[in-house]
Amino acid sequence: MSAAPIRIFVPVDAAALSVGAEAVARAVAREAAARGAAVEIVRNGSRGMLWLEPLVEVETPEGRIAYGPVAERDVPSLFEAGFLSGGAHALRLGRTEELDWMKRQQRLTFERVGVIDPLSIAEYRAHGGFAGLERAIGLGGAEIVEAIRASGLRGRGGAGFPTGIKWKTVHDAKADQKYVVCNADEGDSGTFADRMLFEGDPYLTIEGMAIAAVAVGATRGYLYLRSEYPHAYRTLERAILKAEAAGLIGASVMGSKHAFHLEVRLGAGAYICGEETSLLESLEGKRAVVRAKPPLPALQGLFGKPTVVNNVLSFAAVPWILAHGAQAYADYGMGRSRGTLPVQLGGNVKRGGLIELAFGISLREIIEDMGGGTLSGRPIRAVQVGGPLGAYLTAEQLDVQMDYEALASMRAMLGHGGIVVFDDTVDMARQARFAFQFCAKESCGKCTPCRIGATRGVEVMDRIIAGTERPKNIAVLRDLAKLMTDASLCAMGGLTPMPVMSALNHFPEDFDRPPSPRQEIALAAE
């Protein structure tokens, strides 16, 4: 028989691998060979339903049918059940596109992730890839910048700065050399969208960076990736080589007069390197001490040259905007938060993963409807939004909408869109202590409020936890938080008080408990 092989998708995303996808892929190949079944195993990205990983899909005339979570030992029974034609099995979930988790989303940036073979340029193109870059080349730099401005796109790295304004500054600057730098440090705990995008659709960010380069007149680009992401690194390295070989970037961008040389650089385990000026210092090979601003990186960035620095998700939004039009993008969202936001749901949650939605959905819908509550089955007590410098919210505050301004109005922040759920066993005084400890460890050391303040903060929290002169120490804590907020040079020191103060203000009872033996042991051990 020479029927076309049946396509089976087994993710190569690191999260899927972390729960056994590699063994599943091998088992599928083994079973298929043993039964003489003609199959083609495609290693795709993850659909983002991480609690269902490894999620295996089979292409059938009715569409792709999902099975999950599949363990290696399930594979023979899947073949017995006729899963190659979408047969019934306890793990059969139905058509992937029809699953509630997928149907609720508006995937623009993640439209191809989990769908295509990540490294296939042909599949990327067949699914609309490089249409944005092609369009951009036909426009002038000023017109590209205007499209980005009109789309309302704001930086997805945390600060929410309008991307079009940043690009215009670099576009208007006169210089012999300009750079485009992608911030892929993704240091915020609770976030993994950049990683999933690189592993599932690496050409998208490359295309977005190339569009930025054409727009501002830059010929060199760097993608600064954290060293904690070895899988993403391997995928990106291969994708860049393939894109160069195909003439999409390199000496000529898609046959145009524009050159764009792109390189991946690895970070080295420093959280502060996500701060853009620290990142630039690191790319220059130095200690990654934060620079004072001004000058803005847009005017004096990498090696003192005008530089666009954007987050992965900011660049990744760009090809869609160019291909579909600024207005089509701006039609999603609310208020001053336009477009879609890839939300990352993690921590103690039953159904965690990647959810891309227009701005404006409430935290409660995400955590309860999509996430299904806690994994432990216990009540939700606290939710941290926006990474280690983000606020802890209570279960009562979850009706807030996911939007830059709505969160800011309750002294919280959206950051890079990470949501971390805690159940009622969490001790918020210890979480406050951790925020200081993390800042003490990761401070670049340039300014005193952060460098010394964080260490003081750990000491004050230790006294509070130990029950020593609590009212006095809580007053010291409030003063210290104010000082760090007001006087730190960058948001590392400036925002560390956000998780601390939200813990204190929303969960005061945790700062007034009898010291427990567990805490004493933990403190003694440190």
């Binding site: 999260a15 609690w51 993994f192």
Partner: protein, 158 residues
Amino acid sequence: MAGYPAWDQDSARTIIAGLAHLEGATLPMLHALQDAFGYVDPQAVPLIAEALNLSRAEVHGAISFYHDFRTAPQPARIVRLCRAEACQALGCEAVVDDLAREHGIVVDAAQAGDAAVETVYCLGNCALGPSALVDGELLGRVDAARIAALCRHGRAHS
């Protein structure tokens, strides 16, 4: 996993020369040396300084700034255990306690044995924690017994 070869000044020099054409080559050099030898020997400092026309203090300053770079040979196996918030919410601190109590493995203990468990903050696997990274592979839903077994495995193969 194989152990690393002993530091060799000549191959270090070759590695450095091969990367000297890059802009801002310091970090790529340090990574390449650490990939080859498991650490960056202090003898590399003058080589890098010379290749990049930097002072030794600048090179040393860069090495000491970043958590990744080691200046002494590393154990044959390092398990990086995530202890950031999402993994805290899933009990990574209990894993740390259990490792110490039940397996005699102290996280972040300075030691020159064959295996070590070290703290890392976020591996991008925050929905499937507690997470760990070992030999370039990501692991989800780990517990102390699994980490301890990985450490023993490290010893057995070194």
